[in-house]
């Protein structure tokens, strides 16, 4: 059976994201009935959500930092700035088990001369916890690529701080092997006039669940969250976005696009945007579109916008799941282009706009190639 569905979350966003704690014991083991877990096949999580012991040997982390960027390993201390606080049991367990964090610091006013590459390579299926910190100090500017491959069972947290006037582009690529399982939380805090461009490109893995969130600590913060995912038969790729507007005059844009090709390919996109009473002058828009290419694939898309002040600049969302447009294919084929090539052109075009925004040519090329390969 194929389904193209939009579901509705039942609880207000405020309550869904209310609990944050570094203590895993504060979060009950999910049963699958919770709003936050109802789309995720828990039995495939290999106990990441319950009590599977988490070690540190399942992945290898290699850092190739731009010369302007400082790299260090640091013992995780809960009180460290910019203030990471887990939002669910997996994140809290990963935080408690990671031990040390890989910390990249972009010094004040430093501008990185080239992208910094963080390679995360899965080397065994031992359940592993990881923690990464990207700390952009005021007016610092950097591009960071988080390149994740191999075979792993991985629960990780990425703690992102962009200081006043700073700019960070983070491109997270999940190109895991077919058997990998990952549950990941990216938590960003933006200072005054800080800019974050965040990409999550999810192509490989058996089950990948990524939850990027953004909070603002000063006015004028600007977050752009982009996502590309391509789910093959049997893959479960889930993205749960949360933008918490609690500060005046901040902006957010969310654009996620997915394609599904094959039996039991499943994508989930949750876009929670909360505009709290103090966040006057907020400008937000979120958009999700999924191309369901074959029968037996399923895309769930749930945008949620909760607005608690009347004084916003703009607040909107759009979500659409659909098949390849017959009119597009007819137009191209009526010019002599064969079906398979017409299909490739349309799909390439569908992702092209987002790939063009990545701004790191090596990554953009690789994503294009990978998508071409998926279509071949």
């Amino acid at each position: 059976m194929s389904a193209v569905s939009g579901a509705v979350e039942t609880a207000p966003i405020t309550s869904l994201h209310a609990l944050r704690s570094a203590d895993p014991g504060d979060f009950a083991v999910p049963t699958g009935r919770e709003e936050e877990w109802r789309f995720t096949p828990l039995r495939r999580l290999r106990g990441l959500h319950s009590d599977a012991p988490l070690g540190q040997a399942g992945v290898r982390v290699d850092i190739d930092a731009a010369p302007e960027i400082d790299y260090a390993e640091r013992i995780i201390a809960p009180a460290d700035p910019p203030g990471f606080l887990p939002e669910d049991r997996v994140s809290a367990r990963a935080y408690a088990a990671a031990g040390t964090a890989h910390v990249l610091t972009v010094p004040k006013e430093a501008v990185a001369s080239r992208p910094t590459i963080i390679r995360v390579t899965g080397v065994s299926d031992e359940a592993t916890a990881g923690h990464l910190v990207i700390d952009v100090r005021p007016f610092g500017k950097a591009v960071v690529v988080l390149d994740q491959r191999g075979s792993a069972t991985y629960a990780d947290n990425v703690e992102i701080g962009v200081g006043d006037g700073g700019e960070l582009t983070l491109v997270s690529v999940a190109e895991w092997d077919d058997d990998a399982v990952q549950v990941s939380h990216h938590q960003a805090t933006l200072g005054r006039d800080a800019k974050l461009k965040h990409f999550q490109i999810t192509l490989g893995g058996s089950l990948v669940r990524v939850s990027p969130s953004v909070r603002y600590s000063g006015t004028g913060g600007d977050a752009e969250l982009y996502g590309i995912c391509f789910a093959d038969g049997g893959q479960h790729l889930e993205h749960r976005l949360f933008v918490d507007h609690d500060t005046p005059n901040c902006r957010s844009r969310v654009v996620y696009k997915g394609a599904l090709d094959g039996d039991d390919a499943h994508t989930v996109w949750i876009g929670d945007v909360l505009i709290r009473p103090d966040a006057v002058g907020t400008d937000t828009y979120e958009y999700n579109r999924n191309l369901v290419l074959t029968d037996g694939a399923r895309a769930d898309s749930v945008p949620n916008l909760e607005i608690l002040t009347g004084e916003v600049v703009g607040a909107g969302h759009a979500s659409a799941n659909g098949r390849l447009d017959d009119e597009h294919l007819f137009y191209l084929m009526a010019r002599g282009i064969g079906f398979e090539e017409a299909r490739r052109l349309v799909i390439r075009g569908f992702f092209g706009e987002l790939i063009g925004k990545i701004g790191v040519p090596e990554v953009a090329d690789r994503v294009t190639e990978k998508i071409e390969a998926e279509l071949a």
Partner: protein
Amino acid sequence: MSTLEIRDLHAAVTEADGTLREILRGVNLTVADGETHAIMGPNGSGKSTLAYAVAGHPKYTVTQGSVTLDGEDVLSMTVDARARAGLFLAMQYPVEVPGVSVSNFLRTAVTAVRGEAPKLRVFMKEMRGALGDLSIDPKFAERSLNEGFSGGEKKRHEILQMEMLDPKIAVLDETDSGLDVDALKVVAEGINRFRARPGHGVLLITHYNRILQYVQPDYVHVFVAGRIVEEGGPELAKTLEDEGYEKFTAAAGAKAAS
């Protein structure tokens, strides 16, 4: 010599509820190269359906009759094979295809129709020439296909494709609708360039006489209620302009009632 032959063509559209509704009721028409045929008719008479049925749009089902191009059975070909065989349809409402650039699309289409990829430099030169002929800004080539184009830009772009793909028979579906007089002249010049070259036939579907002042047809066919009810020379277009379609629609109605 190229000849498009349409014989006793019946076609139906698939409605939203899945049922078929017959629109074409026995169309007979022969278009040879060197000839320009105009099909004129009131709204809803099935003119566009004829164009789409010949091109192979999936929404239309041919229930009876035949279409051949130089003796080859067109109806058994896929949509893309029809285009490669030498048929072209300029659409009334060209669709927007996000993220596919005009130049990439044209190069892909030209490669498919010609059977080999033109050298990039040669292709670019050819495309720039064609753009210039139709007074289209060269920057246009890097835009997404039809996305954000004005009505006039879309129609000029259809003619651009026709000139580059160089079909044997071009079917132009209300290419003149929605054009101001300047754009109409540019489009008409394109059609005239195309048909002036040997080996090309044109089937021009239109609601108005206006474009026929710039593109003189050899034959005019009046299309009413799914079939051709009258044929003549260019003077017939003038008669239709002056007298309207009432005479023909009334006759078709009377015939249907009898």
